[in-house]
Point group: C2
Chain length 330, copies 2
Amino acid sequence: MLNDRQTKLLKIIVEDYVKTARPVSSKAICDILNCSSATIRNEMSYLEETGLLEKTHISSGRVPSEKGYRYYVDHILEPRELNGEDMLKLQTIVNNSSLMLDDYITKSMEIVSEMTNLTAIVLGKSSKDNCVSKVEVVPINEHNLIAIVITDKGHVEHKNLTIKENVSINDIKQTVDLINKMIIGTQLNEVGKVLEYEVKPIIAKYVKQHEVLYNAFYTAFTDFAKESVTMTGRKNMLMQPEFNNADKIRDIISKFEDKEIVDKIEENDNGINIYIGSETEFDDDVTIVKMKYEANGEEGTIALVGPKRMEYDKVIALLEYIKENMKEGK
Amino acid sequence: MLNDRQTKLLKIIVEDYVKTARPVSSKAICDILNCSSATIRNEMSYLEETGLLEKTHISSGRVPSEKGYRYYVDHILEPRELNGEDMLKLQTIVNNSSLMLDDYITKSMEIVSEMTNLTAIVLGKSSKDNCVSKVEVVPINEHNLIAIVITDKGHVEHKNLTIKENVSINDIKQTVDLINKMIIGTQLNEVGKVLEYEVKPIIAKYVKQHEVLYNAFYTAFTDFAKESVTMTGRKNMLMQPEFNNADKIRDIISKFEDKEIVDKIEENDNGINIYIGSETEFDDDVTIVKMKYEANGEEGTIALVGPKRMEYDKVIALLEYIKENMKEGK
DNA sequence: TTTAGCACTCATATATTGACAATGCTAACA
DNA sequence: TGTTAGCATTGTCAATATATGAGTGCTAAA
């Protein structure tokens, strides 16, 4: 455990480094803590032994280590009110009452990304556990149909179906009716099974072109559980000095394009979770701050990605502000 | 105009540089053209005078200039058949008959991006001139509705509407019926006007909560004309040596995130258009190859973005292959 | 018109240097 | 026992020097 002065020292170093991106020297601190630089150095070297600080080279100033940030986030960080200026910027969106939840979130995160120079990620809806509440099929022309599925939580998915062979409108209608009967109330990610084991045997009996129809609907429905991801402000984040080398940027851009890695961001408990450096799947210099939300029956995850060296208190305040304001009747 | 040997020389230099990314020396060429390096140098310096070649520094080999690439593309480039291996990779997608046009294009472009190390952009549908063919409204709960619009060309757009005040189901039904009557057949980008000047006055007379309803529908419909953009393989492109400096990558990533610039890619004539270096809005090292397509009544633009130093013949062959195969009954 | 030969130029890589910014350590001090 | 002054030490950074090699331009001869 750290004593009072050590805690203060760590706090100062983290916050100074976050601001300036330069290693913090003992000399710079002695004014603030009212003691000589030598004393600071003694304390610094203790914090280094503990693994909370690091040097970039033997005679450099100190920089918070991953463990240092973690300690700062867990024990030192004080909750902070959003400052007036930032609040004002978000207010226009909060007050725009015609905005649906999704748009409110996306737009807020766009602004937050600009304010913080972090990449904002909005992970859609996790509609896997939505239940089908209505299926509708609209014919476009001879060979093309549109299947529309609406879930109980208000998500809509649609897909165009192409049916090469000639299939009678009646057969289509029968199939849709059957599907409507059998899969309403089913969770989206269960629909595939129900189609295969319950619907298929029945339409095989009663519908002529059953195979063509079954295949078309099967692929349509099993595609539905997909998630949506939006990402804004990659550029903002990449301007940070920790990413001023081409290979690092390439690596991070690649990871952003990797569906697997981005999808994993979703797994988390409620509230705000912070993953620092090696705790992320991105890069040792990266921190991910993510928050699950649930409002209006919809749920999803929003996340901010950026350098470890970020303004944790501000980021938390912003996310909480977004969450607060989505409760109030969006 | 270039003589035969000069044309050959330019062709060799372009193609060699495309392959190796290194300035081409006179010595490397003399074997191919059966003459000494000094002769080649004479010809090279002529091509440099003409502005078709450049040196990276005074004693370096030659590199095609922007004008050189342009000349190559306009006069030297020979149409090339897709090689068997590449064709095979695309075949699986072409043969997947359950794929709709949109998915066929997106998936093909993903593969093309990997094969060429270029960024693939699919610019959606330009559905502005689609006509509304059906409007449907599905209630989710007291305050939320889903409006679904289907166009004659088979696009589906949907939007959640929130209606804060209490509005009777009957009023909603009346409004929807009216909308259905009045806007079917209207182009998507005209719907706003029709709503304002034709629908609004009528519902103002007959529907109680007309303002709330009108506003909800108005914002819903006017949002519909939006376009979709998908982009894959940024990472592939950024691995190219011309982008091995952090600032250049940042700049290009920024441009990719700039809606204005990306949208502009759409403006082009039919066929394949090639924009080299300063002709693009991206960077002097960048080339954009884009192609408008029209099939099934849908139209859109696909584009490949990468370094000027790209395999133009291969890229063209790939795009043409995609276009060919979308005609055959997707 | 082509070519061999040579001087020249520049990129790239590596080493050298001095100024500077911090540190660690030690010994003295309160 | 905790704090501090002073100094040697160690590294970064930027500027400068040095060597090497690849490739050119030019000239004179074939």
